[in-house]
Symmetry: D2
Subunit: 443 residues, 4 copies
């Protein structure tokens, strides 16, 4: 699948303005210190995200297409190259936080300069392949917008003072009753998955191809924080029966006893660190910050409680199920935008949707709450071809030892998610906004 532009130059110019502005809005409440620190090798400083997304436009787009291109600063090409061997040397990932100079103001100035240059260039009738790269740059920056929030949460979560990124919304209410799990079943058979047709998609979503599904059912909503607390209360983190062998090793090595950011309250119950500071656990909201091991163990435990063969869905089951349920229709209206910055945590949004159906009913919470772990290892679709050039390193070279997550989270920018989207992380990663939807074998 070739890389394609998602609109005209004029349309993309408008999008460019919006996307770039949202990134700045995300960084706006931060001190230079907040934006500087790298809290672990897997996370990057916010300043680095601001720089790297700009690097993408300058190095992969302007360097190739801008007339009379001159680099803003000759060292930035190496300094903010994440992993593109085709571009050349890279600053070591675990040392991103050590680069205090250029400072935040210099990076912001670079951003503004590149913004101007891109707009100027866009008005010069750029060719379609260039607009396609710009489109990719916009989607790339949207991915980093979500990472800004997860990486920043990790940093603030390391602080014993549990500082809030933004003040808590006033309207947070009491936990409502969560409807019982409903199941949407499928008889199995051939289905087609993967991106096809119009609109931007990453190369790893293509080609659209056939897949044979086994009979199964998908839960019509996500597992909640309250349900996950039941797993803990039943001794779930201490019982090897529920865990993959590697998961059990992880539990013991990390001495894990609850999801990331959960804290046991002295008087009983749980609180959880959020981007709005430490909050009482919201039992009716989707469980979040689970890794694959925890999601898989929960499914096994829940299966034993219910007598059903529960498991994680495959990505094909998820994609086809969501497509069939029509749940993807509203995806464009969901997710992070300038209007949602005051409420940055998964929500219990079920009550207003009515009770869950059975059979071919809707799959609630497919998008906009938490990414959903699947049982599918991240691998090439049959016939997959990476894009040509340096951007061929974008997705394909990570297709090993990672697992696919589907849907999107509250932190995924509006307009970025889609039905065929394949997010991926290693099995032990839990600092992303990741939860689970159960599936069940039907046979």
């Amino acid at each position: 699948m070739p890389l394609k532009a998602a609109g005209t130059a004029a349309h993309l110019a408008e999008q460019f303005t919006q996307v770039r502005a949202l990134t700045c809005a995300l960084a706006e409440p931060l001190s230079e210190a907040d934006a500087q620190v790298q809290s672990m090798p897997d996370a990057s400083p916010v300043k680095w995200h601001l720089a790297h997304t700009t690097w993408f436009f300058e190095t992969l787009l302007l360097e190739r297409f801008e007339a009379g291109f001159r680099a803003h600063h000759p060292a930035y090409r190496m300094l903010f190259n994440s992993y593109y061997n085709a571009v050349g040397a890279q600053h070591a990932r675990p040392q991103r936080g050590l680069i205090t100079r250029p400072g935040l103001a210099e990076i912001q100035a670079w951003r503004r300069a590149v913004d101007r240059r891109v707009h100027d260039w866009l008005s010069s009738h750029p060719p379609e392949p260039a607009l396609a790269l710009l489109t990719l740059g916009l989607n790339h920056e949207q991915q980093h917008q979500e990472l800004i929030l997860s990486d920043l949460k990790h940093l603030l979560g390391c602080n014993p003072l549990a500082p809030a990124y933004r003040a808590r919304p006033a309207h947070a209410g009491k936990a409502a009753d969560v409807p019982a799990l409903g199941w949407v079943s499928h008889d199995g058979g051939p289905v087609d998955i993967g991106h096809a047709g119009a609109g931007f998609a990453f190369d790893n979503e293509a080609p659209r191809h056939r897949h044979w599904l086994a009979p199964h059912a998908l839960a019509d909503r996500l597992v909640t924080q309250g349900e996950f607390a039941g797993f803990i209360a039943d001794g779930g983190y201490g019982d090897p029966r529920w865990w993959l062998s590697a998961g059990w090793d992880w539990v013991r090595t990390q001495q894990a006893s609850a999801p990331m950011y959960w804290q046991r309250e002295p008087q009983g119950g749980w609180s959880a660190f959020t981007l709005h500071g430490l909050q009482p656990l919201q039992a009716d909201a989707p469980a979040v910050h689970l890794n694959l091991y925890e999601a898989d163990a929960y499914a096994r435990w829940a299966g034993a409680q219910s007598g059903m063969p529960l498991r994680l869905p495959t990505e094909a089951e998820w994609e086809h199920g969501v497509e069939r349920s029509g749940a993807a229709a509203r995806v464009q209206t969901m997710g992070l935008c300038a209007d949602t910055l005051e409420s940055l945590h998964p929500q219990a949004d079920l009550a207003r949707r009515g009770s869950a159906g059975h059979g071919k009913g809707p799959l609630h919470q497919a998008f906009g709450q938490v990414w959903q772990w699947t049982a599918s290892a991240y691998a090439a679709y049959p016939g997959y071809r990476p894009w040509a050039g340096a951007v061929g390193e974008y997705n394909g070279k990570f297709m090993v030892n990672q697992y696919v997550l589907r849907g999107s989270s509250f932190a995924t920018p509006r307009g970025h998610a889609r039905l065929s989207y394949r997010n991926f992380f290693p099995a032990d990663a839990r600092w992303q906004f990741t939860g689970l939807r159960l599936a069940c074998d039907l046979r």
Copy 2:
């Protein structure tokens, strides 16, 4: 799929005798020191293999079914438990080599005592579920027979003296010309894979289920040592284009520059450490001791050389292709047995087979040479159910972060391999007898 006995008590008694004897034959040339040492956490001492396979029969079979059961030694239940949490505590894996007492003679005596008890018990009309467990125990011991050879090779390979496990066969000849790669193509569509019907299989090979294949072709033979040397000569270990990102990290961290056990000769060329000591590289024999990263990188490089979209096959492509080609017919006559102990290395067996065909021709070297990496992560088949009881921990709990290998190697015991067999190892493992067969997208 329930665990089933692979024959009558009398038949199994005969098999038991043979399998147990082969294990002893493998250990026969070893000193007590050779049998004692654990050369890395992933490998186990030969003495531990001798003990653990005996533990399997005593703990999982006799403890449950033998009248008047009394443990041979009360501590062995914990000491030689590999990973069965349902059985209880386990001696830590990386410390298996520290147990010098019981000594080798005591373990051999234990083996003989358990052999007698199993035979006595077999003559007492044991029930079918017990015979099924015995069948599993035999297959389990066969797996450890191959591990004895790979683990022992690793140990001897750490010795600068490069000692031989057994003397080299006299008849080793000159490398013959290897026929050019042929391709066996498939138009895609639904196929069934997985074990069904009679005969023993592991739970992870079931249930048989439908899979939709994309159009593709499989190479009709394995990649050779000579071909892999071409990858090295072309700078393959120094060029990030060929490598998965995690593979490239592995190359640099390990400073890898050739397959495991290869040594550059001062005067040029390569030699390789084998179970028969250091030998000149046999260019026409299948490449072996590759990990998934190396296999994948070779495929990408070979694709760039040939202009074809080469990759590793999926396990469904492999299984269906081998089934269709009829190559599984001879599997029962191949592999390790008392007669093959003098030649313990993959062979260049192509010349005697005639030239490779195209289309639906035979897939050579499917079995009995080296295990073949696939692109498929090790995961549950749709509808997979682990066996009941402690043996439910045999396979299912390892279904993460590993990749499937298909076929069998020269070190796989005769009678153990089959079409639906799923071997699995982590992507960076190279001490097993692992190589590759290329596949190609057809679209």
Copy 3:
């Protein structure tokens, strides 16, 4: 030795003002990002130094002596406690850099508030033991002033852009000829070392006690950068003969081939990263950023070149030699102060001193250039008693696996150094301003 006040309340108030101001002056050129980052576990963020030195006054002084004490912020007591178990819990050292909140402005405000409170309290006729603690707090802050410069240099040195902390002084000239090493000899016998009498000293400098010296000579100046380059040119980092066994392990593990911050220039020669950015190596200046292994190896190599039994001096040899030479007389006029901030690197200050003498001549460069490694492990003097209370943890509990350095560096604040001062670091530390003076056995 009891902790004693170094003057009247009025005198200490003046000192307090000066010391606190110098710390702020050191931080003044830094961005909030520069002040935030911790570049390795051994180093601390500048902001942490600003906070911890304030914590010292608030927690160890005001909490005990201020009427109506109220903590500025309840969490700071734990957050900025370095290692005082008697005070209670501590934030983990390697995570000091993760505390982005409180921000730099809040810490500066805390500093000002504590400054005011200390001054108010000083005007209320505080008792002598309280003034003694204040005196300690001033010396403590002076130690952190030097650490601010070494830790900050480490951070900036990790940046490929090699940013300067302050612009380079204009007057840097050409390297002058360094006078040949002279030797100041001693016939051996009993001498007294250690602090006694008036003036502040740390508990580890007492009691003054007798020591028997062997006949020896001390070099009359420090080893220069140019001399150390000769060691490298002679293959010093590749020859195990010169190295302690642990030093040789360090060389190979770290692949060390030059002192920290040295860079080989493409056209030959060396440059070195300094607080004024990357500069050509100043051959006539003292060698700096050596660890004990490098200092010891240099001595052994220089001994082999010269046929003399060269080694590092013991701390008793150093202290007595410097005392006898009168070199300590000018110590109060040397070192870091508001006037020296424009030149933050060891200097070649030998030319203006005339040629080196022999016999009982002067020992040049005893203070104000670089700390000088000794052969003496950091241990208690006979009869050593730690101070009472929490400040008893200041020095005594570190008396293992460290080595004593004597003298002072250009970064040691004026008024802080003295003859009996015992600095100490582990043998492999090289980010401090550490060099060496040679000694020679005379027998």
Copy 4:
């Protein structure tokens, strides 16, 4: 101090026979597996000790002095070189246990062959420097005899079955009352320590030199197991007040709560693993397997209990005190020999000695029980010169980050210990036979 022969060729021939025989006697009860395994990088396999001691004679003696020298096996020169860079390459220390070939029988044959060659050579009027090297080889082998026991104990102690090296002596009786600690005081002043005069000594014991002692007292016996149990019962491992900072880090990292090999009994009390298997703790015997941190913490705790400034002695205090007390007179009659192999653990030998004196009374248990940690870092004596040639690497290059132990243990071969002997280990080592004697400041 030059290396000197400790007798005539005939005398040394007799000694050689005896020393070599004791090594074989130590290995005699071991299986080939026992002799093969390396239980941690710091420990070596017994087979390696057998080989390396032989290597010493063949490589450092015969290679230089034997007429018509021919190596027994060309690879052994590298394979069994411990750390002599002057000899050339070395097999990596942590991989000593991987060398299963040559086997134990081959190493024993090598030993016998070298024994014959040494005896033949001794009858050919060898020159004095060669006899001096032989003398060193004998002392070297005696050091490895003690290491054989400590390393073997570590290996057997890793085995959950707690196997005995040799059966327990029958006569083990009840713990007797231990006399109260007595103190032997010294007024301070100049003393001479270090080896001088006749008899073999290592280069690090010379030159004899003057040292100024402070007034102090030495305990007249060692700290017992029962006394150390009191430290534990008082919460000693949980209270940072007693520990050096590095020691406290060690406690928490290792989760240490008792000396090595101690096990809490279910019904209360302690047992300890010994070379005779698991035994009830012998309260009246000297505490053993303490590292410097534990010894130092015990001294600080005991000081707080008694109100005395207790600490570890310096090596000068120890040597002079033992010399003055006459306790070294019997050293030649103590320690490991063919007659003591049945009782391999420190003994409570105080009862038969009568009550402890004060003043200049005897220092009991100076030799033959456990090595005694001192407060002295292992460093060169003033004027120290390593021996010439490869044996110059024997001692000098380890003079950093280690601490001196004095006396000897039950496992030190008879004839090997002496007053000036300097044993040394890192502060965290506890697998040696190490305990402590208290000292006290007198001022």
